[in-house]
């Protein structure tokens, strides 16, 4: 099935995502955009996830860095939390979202988007194990 579908080239795909981010489609709980409007390769992106209510993350805004290499969207982007967060799939040293504990990255499909990643991260915050974890002070960031 996927063989017959049109394969959207990287740049078109990223332009689509850029527009979605600027126009704010989606449920309003995640937001994302490109870091440097001049970068013709559109590699470096920033996203935010609004902490889901009824969790320790309620009212917090988490900043996430996404890096789309040349092989995006065939390969997932590298995802790293800039805001400090205590969550099972996030490396507590670097803030990197570990693909092996975050299935969406491990089982990446070409039609997944950065918005999907952010939404999934938000859902992850709501899961039983993560919703109650004690969190570092708001506003602190991973150092590297």
């Amino acid at each position: 099935m996927s063989n017959s579908a049109v394969v959207v080239p990287r740049n078109f795909r990223l332009l689509e995502e850029l527009e979605r981010g600027e126009k704010g489609f989606g449920d309003g709980n995640v937001s994302y955009g490109m870091d440097d409007g001049e970068d013709v390769f559109m590699r470096s992106w920033t996203g935010t996830v609004i902490g889901p209510s009824n969790t320790v993350h309620d009212g917090r805004i988490y900043t996430v860095k996404l890096y789309c290499d040349k092989d995006y969207p065939d390969k997932p982007p590298a995802v790293r939390f800039e805001s400090r967060i205590n969550m099972a799939c996030v490396n507590q040293e670097s803030g990197v979202v570990e693909p092996r504990s975050f299935p969406m990255l491990a089982n990446w499909r070409r039609d997944f988007t950065m918005e999907n990643i952010l939404t999934e991260l938000r859902r992850e915050m709501q899961t039983g194990q993560n919703r109650k974890l004690p969190q570092p002070p708001e506003g602190s960031t991973f150092t590297c």
């Binding site: 981010g21 309003g28 937001s31 955009g33 920033t46 009212g59 996430v64 708001e138």
Partner: protein, 527 residues
Amino acid sequence: MGVTVHVKCSNGAKFTVDVDLNSTVKDLKTDLAGKSEIPVEQQRLIYKGRVLKDDNSLSSYGLEAEHTIHLVRGAAATAASAGAVGTGRGDARLAGAATPASAPAGTPDLDGGLGGFGGLGGLGGFGAGLGGIPPDMHQMHQQILQNPNLMRDMMNSPAVQSIMSNPDLMRNLIMSNPHLREVLERNPDLMHVLNDPGILRQTMNAVRNPELMREMMRNTDRAMSNIEAHPEGFNMLRRMYETVQEPLMNATTRGGDAGAGDLAGNPFAALFGGVPAAAQAGGGTTAGATTAPAVPSGPAPNTAPLPNPWSPQQRTPAGTASAGITTATAGGVTTPGSATTTATMTTTMGSAGVGATPFGLLPEIGLMDPATMLQMLQNPAMQQVLQSPAMNQMMQTLLSDPSLLGQLTPQMRTMLDNPRVREMLQSPDFIQQMQRMFQMQSLWAPQLQALQGLGGAMGTQGDSTTAGAPAPDINLNALLSILGGQPGGAPASNIPPEQQYAAQLSQLEDMGFYDSQDKAYKALNAS
């Protein structure tokens, strides 16, 4: 340069505003304060994945016409938010219980922390050393013990967590109870448990998370049956019971010489003194028909008989020779709310409290008025019902399928809210009827299983647990009567065992357990 931009709130509301791209973010917020009813200082604006800073201009973020900005209500005072959110629910409920323990807030200061911990002590059985606790703590303990949810909330509060993650503090608390200390000093293994923060942490996680808890219980269950399968394994378990669990129990039950204040602070004293029958019945499958004579609530040591070895909780099919005999120590004495306590002990100490019951894990327990619940559980007939294999099986099916449980919960609640239903549940006649029904059911077990297969939602676990029971060569009723026929008090030891247990032995032989008399004596004596 004025353009139109969209603002999307996290609550779903949307506005369209005309802004000058050269104006600052602060200006925009002021404009939005009227429309969104969110004060400027609580507004967080997000655009393209970035939080907009008040002093920057809108154009510096590359905002363009028709673009969308997200508006989120942030915390007014950012500092306190973390702790407050975490403890929110727990606090509310503790306050409802009119206790001093609602203190834990953002900063885990020791006073607030200890308040929370006193209650928590009820769970771990470690609160015993906190002297000078006001009497209403006692009431709180009971409430907590009867409500697993409350407990979970409490476990999640940062204050409690910080205490539990501090092994030194924990150790001090435990050591401050002379009885507990004595037990610990005699058992270096237990000491090791206390000294290993990892185990504590693991336990805390389990207590907090019912899924994990269940998993741990299952593992322990399996481990126990493995041990039992081993020759000498049963003896080992029994020794463990004698050297660890019993003294521990006694230590936590004896509060007398420490004074009344301490007694109130001793969760186990409350537990065994105040609601002895409930403690047994909460064990449901463990205590069953052998109801304990009411334990005096004074400083006397725990004189309740040890748990019934014939707990149907065991997974081993009744057809194998070892089955009925080897589970003697498997029953922990638990209350509804504190099944987790036993579980805690079980998992950390590897001692013999496997009997943490389906009830302890059932969230429903919190639905009922505790008094009614106690009354129900104290009724010996009800205990028999609870003990019957069919009931047990039902429980397991339920527990193996959380979604089914979720479906049932609202129904249960409405049912239990009906006073007539409660009346019915308390009437001995009804319970006897139910019991008969269950016995019939166990005779029809094969058909029942077929029915279960139809009721798709039922897990496979039920089948595996019953597999042994309906086997034709076993006289199930005989087995039941053995289970029901256990004497209430501790058996007088000077009667020769073959005489004392003649009836049971002959029944055992009828069932094909010929060569296991020695084991049988041991098991029967241990009970």
